[in-house]
Amino acid sequence: MQDKNKTKKQRLEKELNKVKDELEIQTWGLKKTNEAIKLLYKELEEKNKRLQELDRLKSDFISTVSHELRTPLSITKEGISLMLDGIPGAINEKQKKILATAMDSIDRLSRMIGELLDTSKIESGKMELNRELADIVTLIKQVVMSFESKAKEKGLMLKTVSATNRIDIYIDPDKITQVFTNLIANSIKFTEKGCIEIFVQDKKNEVLCRVSDTGQGISKEDLPKVFSKFEQFGRVVGPGEKGTGLGLSITKGIIEAHKGQIWIESEVGKGAKFTFTLPKYTTETLFKEYVTNGIKKAVEKNSRASIIVVSLAEFANLNTMLPPEEIRAILEEIRGVINKSLRRSGDAVVKDTGEIIVILVGCDKNSCFNVASRLEQAVKDYLEKKNLTEKIKLRFGCATYPDEGRSDEELIAAAKKK
């Protein structure tokens, strides 16, 4: 009996040891794998860093080269245009023709350099938007007008469709003009007959725009590549029309900088339809964006940033006394007064129906207070001169980063409190 128990115990011990060994091996395996994964992760991180560095170098290179190319190019251009105007002496028709061709090529080259610069700015996240309240319908009409003769040459119809005459939205008008120019030029290039329609619609939270054509369209395989850099796919164009292949990638970059979206719908032989949205900015978000940018700059320079918020007191009451256009005009003038009183350059001022914000990067609490008093005096003088002191009451408040707030919201709230 005892022997039997002993054998059983031995057997169990043996089995237990076996399990223990197995467990040890498994633990060892896991430990080794864990170590290896950590190593690989570190290696991947380092490689990633290196790639980012290379990417930055490439962008810097493109940006520097493009800048350096611009100067000799503009001198060449200036020279040719002097000769074309016959200023250094008369030229004959044949010479004129040759020079005109040269001029065309220089224009094309300078557009291409501009596109390279835009691309490097988008890639490095340095594209700055100068947002202002603009009427997008008028903007579209202006772009369309500039393309009318080109469309006529090809026998194409250009039409703008909008339910309203005016849609005001905070955008960078130059950049959005560039977007429409790119899209319409693109449509004209790839459309042989029919029409190009520019559609714009005012929606609740965004403005929707669409440029559609009746051209050759884009195949399903090529659709995902449309917005990529340096892509020139299947669509066959005539000689001399080849571009850099950057236009649509820049277009996408601009729309995304506006926090909008862009997409394309197309089928071969059925034309292409480019649609994009531009979100409507409320005063609050716009203010926040400006303040965030100011804080970002201050952090980069390792300095402070101050904001001054000028708000119209009893704005609601004022609205009943004066028509909105008049209030806007007055605010615009006050903005002008403030801009003039700001001695340093680079200080941003945003206007809206009721508030003006001044961002002072590198300005501490004391100097901010001084600037605010100076602005207040200047605005007071202006209001007195215009006999508006009774109607318009302004409140000035300031706040400094990081002393009184570390985020955009904190700063704006702190400035409004005072």
Partner: protein, 122 residues
């Protein structure tokens, strides 16, 4: 008499890189084998102090090479590092069961491999 190391890897470039790392770390006598079979032969003829075997080899894989070396040379068997480009816990356990002394990942800087070599040859 210096330390002898046998490297079994079918990838020519990897073999060269590993050799360079080992030379840099002060190990001069490096033998190479391109397949498991060749590795096994050399492990017996050259009597290395350490064998580094890739897991994936044409024909006899690294695990099998490991098992055979340890099995045929018993107490006289060299230390063995099973090395891999694709990390896997199941493989690590398998390597251990086949008698490997260490399981190690191939990295671009070779640091982990050299560290493992040094600690086994102490």
């Amino acid at each position: 008499m210096g330390t002898k190391i046998l490297v079994i890897d079918d990838n020519n470039q990897d073999r060269m890189i590993i050799k360079r790392f080992l030379n840099k770390a002060g190990y001069e006598q490096i033998f190479m084998a391109e397949s498991g079979e060749e590795g096994l032969k050399k492990a017996i003829s050259e009597k290395p102090d350490l064998v580094i075997a890739d897991t994936m080899l044409p024909g006899m894989d690294g695990f099998e090479v490991c098992r055979r070396i340890k099995g045929s040379l018993a107490a006289a068997a060299p230390k063995i590092i099973v090395m891999t480009g694709t990390i896997d816990a199941v493989d690590a356990v398998k390597a251990r069961k086949m008698g490997a002394d260490d399981y190690c990942v191939k990295t671009a800087d070779g640091v982990s491999l050299v560290k493992a070599v040094k600690s086994l040859l102490k």
